[in-house]
Every structure is written in structure tokens, then in C-alpha cells.
């Protein structure tokens, strides 16, 4: 099923309710959909458009702007090799060569067994730990070619299954706002007065 499951629709509605305007939930919902299917399907975009009240073309326009959304299936593990300055200075280029050799695919490709997609990536905010890579957005730091080999072997052997979920899963913990604790989102045009704690004084 490439539409959201019923359970995910419930989560989707919960997320939408947090925003003063439904369209704001679009990126989180695209993630939710990618988490479910590993990539973003056409049907999912149609459904998300319906959920937040925009056209499919708008969903598509937003989705294709962002690097993380994939519109075709990728390997079980997406390996993003950072190649920006700090990593490049510390040997990212050589590491990429090595990785291509090890996996037998060029950057951008997926191994025949569907296990790995190797990709160029831009700065991952771990520059002091160069060269770095991410497997399904989980970091590996100061990676040597030998480290890379053992990483691949471990992933193949299923040893890291606990730490690294399938492609699409980001945070394993979701924010949950308990109904009795949340303030609730209000459309901006429906807010006519300042917040209670200012006691009618202007802000600042």
C-alpha cells in the first residue's frame, strides 16, 4: 500500500493539528510517508494533498525541492558520503573511491541485491569528525577504508539492525503532545488579542 495506513493517517492528523495552517505539516507528512514506504509514491502525494488541502502539484513541488525525498525505491541502506570541504580535506574523495570499489556501484547506484545505495552528500554537520558518512542518517565518524569495509560487512550480517532502521525512518521517538497539556494551534486570523501572560500590555 502506498497510501498511508490507517494508523499513519491518525498520526498525520495529529501532526496537522499542531500547525496554524495545515500545509505546514507537509514536510513532516512526506517523511511519515517515506518512513512507511521507503520512498514517496505518487499515491502518497495525492493523499497528502488531500490531507492538507493543496493540489498534488503543490505537494510535488515542495517534495522535489528537498534532497531527502526519494521518488524511486532505494537500497535498504542509503549511504551518504560527505564530500564537502572538511571531509574532502580529510580524504573523503579517496573514501568514496574505496566505497565504489567495495560495493561495486558508482555513486548514485544501488547494489544488485538492493541492500545499498551509495550517494554523494553535502556537509553533514560533523566536520570535525571527517571524513564522515551517514547510513540512513545515522553517523559514522573518522571513517577509514577498513572501517567502511567492516561497516558494510556488519550491515550485511544484520548486526546493526537495532541501531539503523530501514530507509525513511528518522527519529524513532515521535513528539506527542498530550491533549490536556497542549495549547493547540489557532489559525493566525483567529487570534485577536495578546497572550494572557502579558496582561494586556504590548509585547516588549
Amino acid at each position: 500500500m502506498s497510501r498511508l495506513t490507517d494508523a499513519n493517517v491518525v498520526i498525520a492528523k495529529e501532526i496537522i493539528a499542531r500547525y496554524p495552517r495545515a500545509k505546514s505539516a507537509l514536510i513532516p507528512l512526506l517523511h511519515l510517508s517515506q518512513e512507511q514506504n521507503g520512498y514517496i509514491t505518487r499515491e502518497a502525494m495525492v493523499q497528502l494533498g488531500e490531507l492538507v488541502g493543496v493540489t498534488s502539484a503543490e505537494v510535488y513541488g515542495t517534495a522535489t525541492f528537498y534532497e531527502m525525498f526519494r521518488f524511486e525505491p532505494v537500497g535498504k541502506y542509503l549511504i551518504n558520503m560527505c564530500g564537502t570541504m572538511s571531509c574532502a580535506l580529510m580524504g573523503a574523495g579517496e573514501l568514496m573511491h574505496h566505497a565504489e570499489h567495495k560495493l561495486g556501484v558508482k555513486a548514485g547506484g544501488t547494489t544488485d541485491d538492493g541492500m545499498f545505495t551509495l550517494a554523494h552528500a553535502e556537509c553533514q554537520a560533523a566536520c570535525t569528525e571527517a571524513p564522515t558518512l551517514q547510513v540512513n542518517y545515522r553517523y559514522r565518524f573518522r571513517v577509514t577504508p577498513a572501517d567502511f569495509d567492516s561497516l558494510i560487512d556488519d550491515l550485511r550480517a544484520g548486526k546493526l539492525a537495532d541501531e539503523i532502521p530501514q530507509h525513511g525512518v528518522l527519529a524513532k521517538v515521535r513528539q506527542r503532545i498530550p491533549a490536556d497539556k497542549g495549547v493547540g494551534a489557532v489559525a493566525p486570523e483567529d487570534v485577536t488579542e495578546g497572550p494572557a501572560w502579558l496582561d494586556g500590555k504590548p509585547a516588549l
Binding site: K23, V54, F65, M68, C123, T128, L170, I177, K181, G194
Partner: protein, 465 residues
């Protein structure tokens, strides 16, 4: 290979720790540790005073923005129009500037400190909802912040009537999906509205007046907000006692590249010099393998480069700007003598060309053009004319003199920051910045790359049938 500790780098001695004080604990991200180390005492303190007073403290302390522009937070809050409701806080946790690495640590290792910072800002500035925008690729940061928010809601620190007061605020965790430009505040707002993350023009879209959903919106960097709990707990005097008058407090800087001990350090603002940082034993401990320093990028990938001539400058915007660069996001990338300068510049130009949102013509077309020419040059298939063309294209993005550092050996005087630009945001100019620096400071390396081919005039000749 390791998957977790390392950064921050070694921080010896009793330097003040405003934002990294809990980093020494392995459980620094839990609410228990936070509560055991003064956690959520600042918001209590804040709630006991009128909002305006809290705002005055932030203003008084001159908490400089840590996202890049270095604008004081308290002053920025004060720019919002009074009596326009609702108004929002958007936390910029999109950290993607090449070399920059600090916000992720703050979110992963001390999420409650950030949450408390958000609460203080919302209370002080009358902000009724907060969106915490975390870069998409940071799965662990999202997990830690989500957990912390869930704990904080459960304990009554966030949500309806915080700690039984009249103060109510929702903090919504939002995450991006991979686009550097979304770190720019107006693009961040577009993205948060569910749109393509293309920057808006300022004016008219100054977020303080016309931001999220067209409402007054404060956008602050993660580190900026993480400063607030300490400030409220310890007071303005204690805060301004650190650093200098114009650059008080500390700031986190990430030093990467060819140093012995790359890492993220909390340094004293305004006083610490690049030399202290790169060579000081308590920080990076010098250049790797005893090599010599060739150049360094002082403030994130967008910043014009410095050479050893500038090592003695302190972390003080009013000195670094006239010297031809900027402090930006606190990211220093160090290149030693072995560095292939044109290739290094290409990694950055490629980055900015790839990250262009596509809105402004000069950035969209010019960035890619620069990248293509430079790629030719680096591959050894460029020509002399290509070097000139790089400058011509760069000038279409940034007309007039482009800033650069002084250089004694080359007899160059500094051209001060900033530059003029034909684009809305800095992505376009940033694609040119490394090229301009590299070409200005290391032109011979480019010339060596360029095969000096003689252009042979081609006459149109009929094809024999």
C-alpha cells in the same frame, strides 16, 4: 571509526561554560540530569518577573545571534511591531553551513537547555507558539529533542500554563528534509509553511514584522537560545563579564581540517584569537604532522579566506569584517601546506551551486557556470580565459570589489566585508567567495593548472562530399 563521542574537543582549565556545561555527563540529555544541574530554574525565575524585564535582561546582555549574522537577540525581538498577534518563535536548527557543527551537539546533548531557552524567549517576547526546525538529516537530534519535549510536556514545563502560571506555549518539533538554503531565515519560514524553501526578499519580508503566515516572527539560532537559561540564572553582569563589551559571552566554534585536534570548542568571545584556537594546547594544538598553515576559512564555507597573516585577529566581528571576512557561524576550516587550493575551492563552489534554490538568476545560472569552469580548471583542461571568466561570472553575482584579506607577501591590502550582490540571499555570492579568495591569494596554483593552449583560428571549410 566511531559513532558518537569525540566532539566537543578538549576544553581544559576553568574556562566559563555557558552552553556546554553538561557535556561532560554521558546522560546530559535526560531530564533527570537537567533538573539535577539547575535545569528549569531559569524559566521559574523568568516567570516571577514581568515579561518586559526578562526582555531587558536579554537586551542588556547583548546576546549576539550565533546563526551567522551576529545580530543581538534582544534588539531583534524589539523590532517586532507591538500589538500584532499572534507572533511566533522559529528556532533555526537547520545547521548546514559547511564547517559548522555546534547546534547539532546542543540539540543532541542538551535538548532541555534549548527548550528552556525557547520558553524564556516566548515568555519575554509574547510569542504564542514555537516551532523548532531541526535539519532533516539529524535523526539523533530529532530523537533527543522529541524525547525531551515529551518529558517537558509531561512535567508541565511546556504547554498549557507552564508551572501553573499564565504562560502557555506549545513547542512543536518540525524537521527539514535536506536543503541548505532553508537555513536562511525567510527560506526557513517558507519551508515551515510547507513550501519550497526559497528565500523571500527583505524588505518587505523582514520576519520580525512579516514572517510565518505573515505574522511577526522571531527566528533565532539554537545556540543563541541555548544561552538564555545561563543568562537568566546568572544575570547580565555575569554574562557580560565574559568576553568583550561588543562581543560578550562565549561562543561555540568548530575547527575542522588539518589541525591536530579538530573539535568543537566553547571559547570566550571577542578575546580568543585564531592563533589561540588553532595553536593553543587547550584547543587544536597546532597543524597536523607539524605542517605549516596555508589558509583557513574563518566563518563557515561562505566566508572569504584568511592566511597566517590574520591569525592574531580575535573573534570580534568589528575586527574581522574590516579584515575582509566574517565570523559567520563559528566554523573554521584549516588547510595546511599540502592542500590543493583550486580543488578545495571547488568543493565549496560545488556545494553552493548544488544548494542554490533556483530563485535568483545569478545564483541559479551563475553558480553552476562557476562550478563548470572551475571543474575544467581543476581537471587541467581549462584555459587562461577561464580564470578571467570566473571573475566575470562572479562579478555578475557580486558587482564591485569582492572582500578579501590583506597579504603582505602579495602586497595586497584588505577589502572589507561585506560585498554587493545581485541575489536575494548569500548562497550565490558564497559560490564565488572561495573562488575569489583562492584566486586572489593563490593565483599561481590556478595558473599551473591551466594548460596554456594557443587558440587556433578555425575557418569554415566546406565538407567534401
Amino acid at each position: 571509526m566511531s559513532s558518537y563521542p569525540h566532539a566537543p574537543g578538549f576544553v581544559a582549565g576553568d574556562r566559563p561554560k555557558v552552553v556546554t556545561s553538561r557535556f561532560e555527563y554521558t546522560d546530559s540529555f535526560t531530564i533527570d540530569r537537567y533538573l539535577a544541574t539547575d535545569g528549569y530554574t531559569a524559566i521559574r525565575k523568568a516567570l516571577s518577573k514581568p515579561a518586559a524585564e526578562v526582555h531587558d535582561e536579554v537586551k542588556g546582555a547583548t546576546v549576539l545571534g550565533r546563526g551567522g549574522a551576529g545580530f543581538p537577540a534582544g534588539t531583534k525581538w524589539g523590532l517586532t511591531p507591538q500589538n500584532v498577534w499572534p507572533r511566533y518563535l522559529v528556532v533555526n536548527g537547520d545547521e548546514s553551513e559547511p564547517g559548522t557543527y555546534k547546534d547539532r551537539l546542543l540539540m543532541e546533548r542538551d535538548p532541555h537547555q534549548l527548550i528552556e531557552g525557547c520558553l524564556i524567549a516566548c515568555y519575554a517576547a509574547g510569542l504564542s507558539q514555537c516551532f523548532l526546525y531541526i535539519r532533516g538529516e539529524m535523526a539523533l537530534a530529532q530523537e533527543r529533542v522529541a524525547t525531551a519535549l515529551n518529558e517537558a510536556y509531561a512535567a508541565g514545563y511546556v504547554g498549557k500554563n507552564v508551572l501553573g502560571s499564565k504562560f502557555s506555549v506549545d513547542i512543536v518539533l518540525h524537521w527539514g528534509a535536506g536543503a541548505y538554503v532553508v537555513g536562511e531565515e525567510t527560506a526557513l519560514i517558507e519551508s515551515l509553511e510547507g513550501n519550497r524553501g526559497m528565500p523571500r526578499l527583505k524588505p518587505p519580508f523582514f520576519p520580525a514584522a512579516n514572517g510565518l503566515y505573515g505574522q511577526p516572527t522571531i527566528v533565532n539560532n539554537v545556540e543563541t537560545l541555548a544561552n538564555l537559561p545561563w543568562l537568566i540564572n546568572n544575570g547580565v553582569e555575569a554574562y557580560t563579564a565574559i568576553g568583550t563589551k561588543t562581543s560578550p559571552g562565549t561562543r561555540m566554534v568548530a575547527v575542522s581540517g588539518h589541525v591536530k585536534r579538530p573539535g568543537v570548542y566553547e571559547i570566550i568571545n571577542g578575546i580568543t584569537t585564531f592563533r589561540d584556537l588553532l595553536y593553543g594546547e587547550e584547543f587544536c594544538g597546532g597543524i597536523r604532522n607539524g605542517n605549516s598553515l596555508k589558509a583557513f576559512v574563518p566563518g563557515g564555507g561562505s566566508a572569504p579566506w584568511f592566511t597566517p597573516d590574520q591569525l592574531d585577529l580575535p573573534f570580534e566581528a568589528s575586527q574581522v569584517g574590516p579584515a575582509g571576512s566574517m565570523l559567520g557561524s563559528g566554523a573554521i576550516m584549516v588547510m595546511d601546506e599540502t592542500t590543493d587550493i583550486p580543488a578545495a575551492a571547488l568543493t565549496l563552489t560545488h556545494f553552493y551551486a548544488h544548494e542554490s534554490c533556483g530563485k535568483c538568476t545569478p545564483c541559479r545560472e551563475g553558480g553552476t557556470w562557476l562550478e563548470r569552469i572551475l571543474t575544467r580548471v581543476v581537471n587541467g583542461t581549462g584555459t587562461d580565459a577561464d580564470l578571467q571568466q570566473l571573475i566575470e561570472v562572479g562579478t555578475s553575482i557580486c558587482p564591485g570589489d569582492f572582500p578579501h584579506a590583506s597579504n603582505e607577501a602579495l602586497g595586497l591590502a584588505a577589502v572589507p566585508f561585506p560585498y554587493k550582490m545581485t541575489t536575494i540571499c548569500f548562497v550565490g555570492p558564497s559560490a564565488y567567495a572561495p573562488i575569489h579568495s583562492a584566486l586572489t591569494l593563490f593565483r599561481s596554483e590556478f595558473e599551473a593548472r591551466v594548460t596554456k593552449r594557443i587558440t587556433i583560428p578555425v575557418t569554415a571549410v566546406g565538407v567534401a562530399q
